[in-house]
Amino acid sequence: MARYGMLIDTTKCIECFSCRVACQMQNGLPPEESFIKFYGQEEGTYPHVSYYTVPVQCQHCENPPCVANCPTGASYQTEEGVVLVNEEKCISCKYCMVSCPYQARVVSEKTGVVEKCRFCIEEVRQGKEPICVTTCVGNARIFGDLDDPNSEIVRAIAKKKAKPLRPDLGTKPKIFYVR
């Protein structure tokens, strides 16, 4: 079984928000709801300063606190290690939202169900890639199988020394960032 992950190279990200718009289209979200947030980061001291942006979405943790804390079993993990929400079971108690250190979850205004990035799992199972990956103009995103040592993503993580956000929190996120 595959174990899906993603690499996001912030040095290639131009902050165009294409991934967010594509994701909203893919998931039928209204303009005010999105599964990707952007954190602008400033570094250095004047006059030697730089700016980069970090897109953050569900990190599909291997040890997800949202799944552990979901009281109804609506949040669950697939065999591919993707975290999903069964909307038939969600009561929108929002316990998963306060449990997620990445604040990756949003309440759907329409249904009240809590939603988030699904790694476009339906498309991935058909052999495609997540829409945020295919739409990225700078090719800043790589998607693939973390268990396959020859996959592009595993090699890129090693080569670019990509690291997850806040690995110290112990959730074992599967999105790796180049910063």
């Binding site: 970090v54 804390n69 109804t72 079993g73 306060v98 009240g112």
Partner: protein, 301 residues
């Protein structure tokens, strides 16, 4: 704020319900003749908890429109802290309902049931703190002091609500319960101490926790914290109740209890009681609201 004032009200009401039940049980053991306050406590527990649960249901809109989904709360075992809490609160709800019914019938519940009830009352009070305490993503909440603090506050607000309503129905219902007031006084001292300890320890946990604490002490929420929670919710009730206890020492004790109402000269015991207990309740709500409001997520960078 993912969890806002609706959830703060729920945490508050569940705590008051548990505290009111404990008050009724304890007064029943210690002062069997003080019937009004026992009845008040037993009558208060179920509707307060039910009101809290109703607020939860309203806040959980996906469940509100698909009520059968709430059944998954019982099937997801072993589950999250919230699943465990659902069981604790459901059992406590049933016990309080039954004991309110028995009270209405003028009967007493068997001792074992009261014992189990007490256990689940403490379970309910502690659970409201555990629910937040296990959330690692919000450093302000992620402390083992929280269940203890919420339990102490639940007992304190439970006594306050019971005394308040018992006094409204019968002006002298609580005038003889000096030891209840002593316990209440002690609980408020303990609560102040626990808030101090929590703030002190949590602020040293990490940067986010420090910022959260500072938003309470000096920042965005500082007025509510100092004036609302500390002064109105703790210091004024401590002062008023302290005065009452101080004056009660000079009263004559008779076999029937204390002869006169234990109040300072020239002040109406009735108004004093209403003010004291009302302030305690305001503080109890503010404690929960402020913790929800000041709880910020860990930083990602």
């Amino acid at each position: 704020m993912v969890w806002g004032s609706i959830i703060a009200w729920y945490l508050f009401l569940a705590g008051v319900s548990a505290g009111a039940y404990c008050t009724a049980v304890w007064v029943g053991w210690k002062f069997p003749q003080a019937v009004t306050i026992q009845r008040t406590g037993y009558y208060l527990a179920p509707p307060l908890l039910a009101a809290g649960l109703l607020l939860l249901v309203i806040d959980a809109e996906a469940g509100l429109f698909h009520p059968w989904r709430f059944l998954y709360l019982f099937t997801n075992v072993p589950g999250s802290m919230m699943t465990d809490g659902t069981y604790i609160i459901s059992i406590f709800m049933l016990i309080t309902l039954y004991q309110a019914y028995l009270t209405f019938q003028g009967k007493k519940a068997p001792g074992w049931m009261t014992g189990v009830g007490l256990l689940f009352a403490f379970g309910t009070a502690a659970y409201t703190g555990l629910l937040l305490g296990v959330v690692k993503a919000v450093p302000l909440w992620n402390t083992s002091i929280l269940p203890v603090l919420f339990t102490v506050s639940a007992l304190s607000t439970g006594i306050a609500m019971t005394v308040l309503l018992a006094t409204l129905t019968d002006q002298n219902a609580c005038s003889q319960l000096i030891s209840l007031k002593k316990i209440h006084f002690g609980l408020m001292i303990l609560e102040g101490l626990l808030i101090f300890i929590m703030v002190y320890i949590t602020s040293s946990a990490n940067e986010t926790a420090f910022q959260s604490v500072m938003s309470l002490l000096t920042g965005e929420w500082s007025l509510w914290f100092w004036i609302g929670l500390i002064v109105v919710g703790l210091l004024i009730p401590l002062l008023l109740e302290g005065l009452e206890l101080f004056h009660s020492r000079s009263l004559q004790v008779t076999p029937a209890g204390v002869e006169a109402t234990a109040s300072g000269t020239g002040s109406s015991p009735f108004a004093l009681t209403i003010a004291t207990e009302g302030f305690v309740l305001i503080g109890g709500y503010l404690l929960r609201f402020l913790l929800l409001a000041a709880g910020t997520f860990v930083t990602l960078f």
